[in-house]
Amino acid sequence: MAMAAALRREGKRLAPLMSSQPPINTTLRSSLISPLDQSSIGGARSISTQIVRNRMKSVKNIQKITKAMKMVAASKLRAVQTRAENSRGLWQPFTALLGDATSVDVKKNVVITVSSDKGLCGGINSTSVKISRALSKLNSGPDKETKYVILGEKAKAQLIRDSKKDIALSLTEIQKNPLNYTQVSVLADDILKNVEYDALRIVFNRFQSVVQFLPTVSTILSPEIVEREAEAGGSLGELDSYEIEGGDTKSEILQNLTEFQFSCVMFNAVLENACSEQGARMSAMDSSSRNAGDMLDRLTLTYNRTRQASITTELIEIISGASALTG
């Protein structure tokens, strides 16, 4: 037992020596690029256990970090989720009153893409950008133009690449304070003041469950278009059957209503997107930890194989040396 331990120690001491004598064929391949390659063909040179050990250490650290990120995302998700679900009640009466007219044909479309500022959250920002691009293509034609308003860094980075000219506004650093209605309404107000629109289409990820996020488009029409649609009949045509109290005219009420509707829908969109972001980050970090664990298992096997091979080689040399002396 002590002999085996001594031999093992010798093996460890001599192993870096063995692999540090660089034979010509392995210097051509850096051992960092193909660390799991053991060339047993010509020279029985194997990877140094040191390198494998370093890799194992770094993979383990990465696994710890991603596990921690998953916990953080889970706790943030819990906090935002109730607020997002409660905020759904803000826009539901509007949809009941004004309808959600996604298919209305208008000249000036503004696509508002809601995305996150931070990364490592899976594919949700890419899906939002994909849908925004598809929307702008759908609405292209003579006389029609689409502009983008971008919330969040990630969508900005993606949309800069090919739609630079169509961007009207970009807003970042939204999540510095916890999300509240006041902030979103100031945002909405700025958008209303800076962009001319006939229809606003908000693209965001609706939170269905921790693993499922549905990309959604919510449409808000400008008051003039609402009036036009109301005259044309359809779901908006019943607006006239409502009585208006208080002496405001119908167009004034419509204007107030559409502004408020925009603000409410934006609030819900931002909250739901924040929820989806945390959920996506949770699942991304979870799969990353799992991959790191798998990698660690494979590296451990390699390490043990390498270690045992070096010990065996050592033993063989010692024993053949000893037998050469005695025999």
Binding site: K164, K165, I167, A168, L169, S170, L171, T172, E173, I174, K176, N177, N180, Y181, T182, Q183, S185, V186, L187, A188, D189, D190, L192, K193, N194, G247, D248, T249, E252, Q255, N256, E259, F260, F262, S263
Partner: protein, 70 residues
């Protein structure tokens, strides 16, 4: 009481309905008593960075205001 055709005072001053309702909400929050007041006012903090675009990225105006008024 307003005659038809006259706009309310806030719209004539250039505010949208959103700004008007935010100011009213701020007034209501300021009417609260102390422990609830600071909680409610902390729910009003605004911070974001707005950049207008014209073919590239011009001015970057950081609008960081602790009041909801513009």
């Amino acid at each position: 009481m307003a005659s038809s055709g006259a706009v309310p005072f806030w719209r004539a001053a250039g505010m949208t309905y959103i700004t008007y309702s935010n100011i009213c909400a701020n007034l209501v929050r300021n009417c609260l008593k102390e422990p609830h007041k600071t909680e409610a006012l902390s729910r009003e903090k605004v911070h974001f960075a707005l950049a207008k675009w014209s073919d590239g990225k011009p001015e970057k105006a950081t609008i960081r205001s602790d009041t909801p008024d513009i």
